[in-house]
């Protein structure tokens, strides 16, 4: 994944490729000042003096050093300078046009989510949302924004969701997976209530720092363990959403699990069903099997796609999940980008291919049909 491989010529006509959705595009700031138009002087000065730490120990950078600078493809640096993902024109040229992206969902990272100071977190998230409108969705009609919320403060998060409830540029609410408490915890319920009310799905993207060791057996040593471990964090969050009755309480709520793979979903559903059956007395508030809530109310973005040998095993896995439940995603401009031309080497029907690459996304994101 970290080697340069021959790409389709960027100038090839987009119509030669099937139109796709991309459920996970990461727009980046070119610098801290990008947010200043929407950030008060107080918070600008605060960041300058104290930073914006997010429950891990480094002043700058992630808890585990990445495998590449900015975790990005080496060919994704804009010719005019700046970080990968910071130039709309280069993103259009390298990704949106070349890969025929018809619907691109923006998931800004490193915004203000999980920042220790809750008021600063809220201010940064709001700035991120205004920045998405001003710099991205207003300039390219293929792009849609996520309402980035300071999820550890659910009241402030709900207010932020309601602020954009009538704005069609926003099609989902964005959380990060490594929260301070499991996702189903009552503390987060105002977020789900506001999202259900606005008709927006809630996307849960891998990463974030909740202050807990990133495995239940303590802190691992390596970045590869952190990356592989995102699927375990998402499994824990999803288990909590089911068991706490979030899906039961908001039956129209949709959740989208982003950038943690998907092949883990069937075994998780089987295990939940089996032990739910034995431990039924603990959760009388649930009226359906865990797998039924998952089947009706949870979607998964595809990247990083699991790559079993033989590939037919992947087909079994998607059959179990349902071909209507996956949303194609590339993770552009990050290093583990999945190329749509090579991501699904399976013999499937035209309808399955069309749903996988675009149709499912059009149905799940608000107002994208």
């Amino acid at each position: 994944m970290n080697e340069l491989r021959a790409q389709a010529a960027p100038d090839a006509p987009a119509t030669s490729r099937i139109a796709i959705a991309d459920g996970d595009i990461h727009p980046a700031r070119s610098g801290a000042r990008d947010f200043h138009p929407w950030l008060s002087k107080r918070w600008q000065d605060h960041i300058d003096q104290y930073g914006a730490p997010s429950r891990h120990g480094w002043q700058v950078g992630p808890a585990y050093p990445k495998s590449q600078p900015n975790a990005s493809r080496r060919d994704a640096y804009p010719p005019e300078g700046g970080r990968p993902g910071s130039s709309l024109s280069f993103m259009q040229h390298q990704h949106l046009d070349t890969n025929n992206v018809a619907l691109g969902i923006l998931n800004p990272l490193g915004s203000g989510q999980g920042v220790q100071n809750p008021a600063l977190s809220a201010a940064l998230c709001h700035a991120t949302n205004e920045w998405q409108l001003a710099e991205w969705t207003s300039k390219d009609s293929r792009l849609r924004a996520s309402v980035v919320v300071p999820y550890e403060d659910a009241i402030a998060s709900a207010a932020e969701i309601r602020r954009y409830a009538d704005n069609p540029s926003f099609v989902q609410v964005l959380l990060l997976s490594r929260t301070a408490e499991p996702l189903g915890s009552r503390k987060y319920w105002p977020i789900y209530e506001a999202a259900a009310e606005a008709g927006m799905p809630v996307g849960v993207h891998a990463f974030g720092y909740g202050g807990n060791p990133v495995t239940p057996g303590g802190w691992p040593s390596y970045y590869i363990e952190e990356m592989t471990g995102h699927s375990q964090c998402q499994q824990a969050g999803l288990t909590s959403l089911v068991m706490e009755g979030v899906f039961e309480r908001w039956p129209t709520l949709k959740m989208i699990m982003i950038e943690a793979g998907f092949a883990w979903a069937p075994p998780l559903a089987w295990r939940l069903d089996k032990h739910f059956h034995t431990l039924r007395s603990e959760a009388p508030h649930l009226t359906r099997l865990p797998s039924e809530y998952m089947r009706d109310q949870v979607w998964w973005t595809t990247q990083p796609m699991e790559e079993p040998e033989p590939r037919a095993h992947l087909q079994d896995s998607i059959d179990w999940i349902g071909w209507d439940k996956l949303i194609f995603a590339t993770d552009y401009p990050h290093w583990d980008f999945d190329d749509p031309a090579q991501a699904l080497p399976l013999r499937i029907s035209e309808q399955q291919r069309a749903d996988f690459f675009l149709g499912n996304a059009r149905k799940v994101y608000r107002g994208c049909a």
Binding site: P216, E225, T228
Partner: protein, 356 residues
């Protein structure tokens, strides 16, 4: 009989410490006195709440006292009905939760001596795992060396959630000792509860804790492979106990993809994770967290790409199946025989020394 062949080797049963009083004869004077003076409670962790429907099957639950707490119960409920030739006793007493290393070491010695005298001496079909104070690797190694002369101990028992990931280098003396003595490393469901039992904090429901054990096993498998435990100890066998196994194919797909992309970070891992698992890691059968239909279960076995990985277990007295249906229906007879007999014999070197 649901396909359990006679002579099966049950790799995960749980005799209980009936009460701390049963350990008193095996505790050293200082600790016996401490138990009395300080009023030290039973070391039963929240992993298996006494009256939870999962902790003991209804037809195995005694009228009073703890499940599986007498040799008569274990014979009548776990050994005789399944015509088990050998069963490996994994004692789940909360020694790993203690914060005092000395106290943990003392209780581990007591439990292992109690196991040898009260169970192994009285029932020739039983083998056992050595409980160790994982809190301190040096003390754990001392306990392994002390017990290893008794060949009826076939494994070292760890819990899947402790203070630090099991691949971390400070645990390696334990693996060196196990490999030297021909002992497997058994990693069982359960936590020291020194970290939150999920990577996103403490859950509200016991069901989350139990279901989440599978995620803990996934991260520990990642840790053991990435740290290079099997590069350093190529003959070591690690057995995941009460782990579930239906998550394994999907987890290996993901880990292998990242290994391809990130192996520069862990250059000592020179084989694909799936190859390492097939040579060094095994899984107990129960609970079978399987798909509801037989055709899907057979596909899943195909995804595991090896018939060597599963070891028969009942997980007695935990409530994982009804009647005698410990083996999933519809498996090919040759695979059933491997799971029930051949795989356990190939995994536990010491079984061959003690079983004719």
């Amino acid at each position: 009989m649901a396909g359990v062949p006679a002579g099966a080797i049950d790799c995960d049963i749980h005799p209980s410490v009936p009460s701390v009083a049963a350990l008193m004869p095996y505790l050293e004077d200082h600790w016996r006195e401490q138990v009395t003076i300080r009023g030290i409670d039973e070391l039963n962790s929240i992993s298996y709440p006494l009256n939870s429907p999962l902790t003991c099957r209804p037809d195995w639950r005694p009228a009073t006292g703890r499940p599986a707490a007498s040799i008569e119960m274990v014979r009548a409920q776990a050994l005789d009905p399944f015509a088990t030739s050998i069963a490996i006793a994994n004692c789940l007493y909360g020694i790993q939760l203690l914060f005092s290393e000395d106290m943990a070491a003392a209780f581990a010695r007591a439990v292992n001596d109690w196991m040898a005298r009260e169970w192994l001496d009285r029932e020739p079909r039983l083998r056992a795992s050595i409980v160790v104070p994982i809190q301190n690797a040096e003390m754990a190694v001392d306990e392994i060396n002390r017990c290893a002369a008794d060949k009826r101990f076939v494994q070292v028992l760890l819990l899947v959630m402790g203070d630090t990931p099991l691949g971390r280098r400070h645990h390696w003396p334990i693996y060196a000792a196990a490999e030297k003595h021909g002992l497997a490393i058994g990693i069982h469901a359960g936590s020291a509860y020194h970290n939150p039992p999920t990577p996103v904090g403490w859950p509200s429901y016991y069901t989350e804790d139990y279901v989440g054990q599978a995620q803990a096993f996934q991260t520990q498998l990642t840790s053991l492979i990435c740290e290079g435990v099997f590069t350093k100890f190529p003959n070591l066998k690690v057995v995941m106990l009460e782990s579930g196994f239906t998550w394994l194919p999907a987890h290996l797909w993901r880990l292998t993809k990242y290994w391809r992309g990130l192996r520069m970070e862990i250059p000592w891992v020179d084989r694909a994770p799936g190859d390492i698992v097939r040579s060094n890691v095994r899984f107990s059968l129960q609970p079978v967290d399987g798909p509801p239909d037989q055709a899907s279960l057979l596909k899943l076995f195909d995804h595991m790409q090896s018939d060597d990985l599963l070891l028969f277990s009942t997980d007695y007295p935990h409530n994982q199946f009804a009647g005698l249906s410990a083996m999933p229906d519809g498996l090919p007879p040759a695979l059933v025989r491997k799971i029930a007999i051949e795989n356990p014999r190939a995994t536990y070197a010491r079984l061959l020394e003690t079983v004719q």
